[in-house]
Amino acid sequence: METAVFIVCAVIVLAGSLGVVLARNPVHAALSLVGTLFGVAVLFLNLEAHFLAAVQIIVYAGAIVVLFLFVIMLLGVDRLEDISIEPILGQRVLATFVGLAGFGLGAAYIATSVEGATISTSSLLRVPASNLHHIAEVLFTDYVYAFEATAALLTISVVGAVVMTRRAGRNRVTQTTAGED
């Protein structure tokens, strides 16, 4: 069963990620990204990370991709991009070569060095309740400063986004600018 789920999800993930890279229309790329993220979420379930699978769907597919689609529609860049011309000569060949070389190195390392299937059945993650309690325990004890730092990071990024997209020299926000933004 796990094998079947893995194979189906792997096909979805790979097809989606290829779709992101190869799509001429940014909207199609964003929708391919949703497919990839969904496949990865199901793989998380397969790996017993139930909470993170839910977070993956809610945060990535629900918020981040919708933000991408908002920006695509806002900027009106949802037209086809001509990807047949190559701005820098030989760039694609070189990029593909570098990518495949990196992948080959990584895959060779994984195949030789990582011994698979040594999954302990009496592990911390296999506790019947859920791993949500364990995540919360670790998050609010060992990583509590990092957690507070991420709260500050999110606030800073929201303020930064508002400052950057504000139109300069217009102190009074009128109805029209609010509508445009």
């Binding site: 990370a49 990584g106 895959a107 994984i110 670790v138 990024s157």
Partner: protein, 100 residues
């Protein structure tokens, strides 16, 4: 039986596709999506090792990666919107203003 090597190789493949896309594509939005692909590949690796070593810290790390990815997308898309207002239809090649 699916071993964890399969998950790791799948993650490596997704990371490779994202990296090649980042190097090849010119549209800043697509480049951001490729970064998201790479982050997801790393998340998959984290969760695979979290199961392998029975250590929940891997899942906590994924949670932090998700938060940082959300912040990165917010700031990145704000930059894209600001650039698009100044130079409409700009690609990554046109933006050499900050080049030293």
């Amino acid at each position: 039986m699916v071993t964890s090597s399969w998950y790791l190789i799948l993650a490596a493949a997704v990371f490779t596709i994202g990296a090649v896309g980042l190097m090849v594509r010119r549209n800043p939005l697509i480049m951001f999506m490729c970064v998201e692909l790479m982050l997801n590949a790393v998340n998959l690796t984290f969760i695979t090792f979290a199961r392998d070593f029975a250590d929940i810290s891997g899942q906590v790390a994924v949670l932090f990666v998700l938060v940082v990815a959300a912040a990165e997308v917010v700031v990145g898309l704000a930059i894209v919107v600001a650039i698009n207002r100044r130079w409409p239809l700009a690609t990554a090649d046109d933006l050499s203003e900050l080049r030293g």
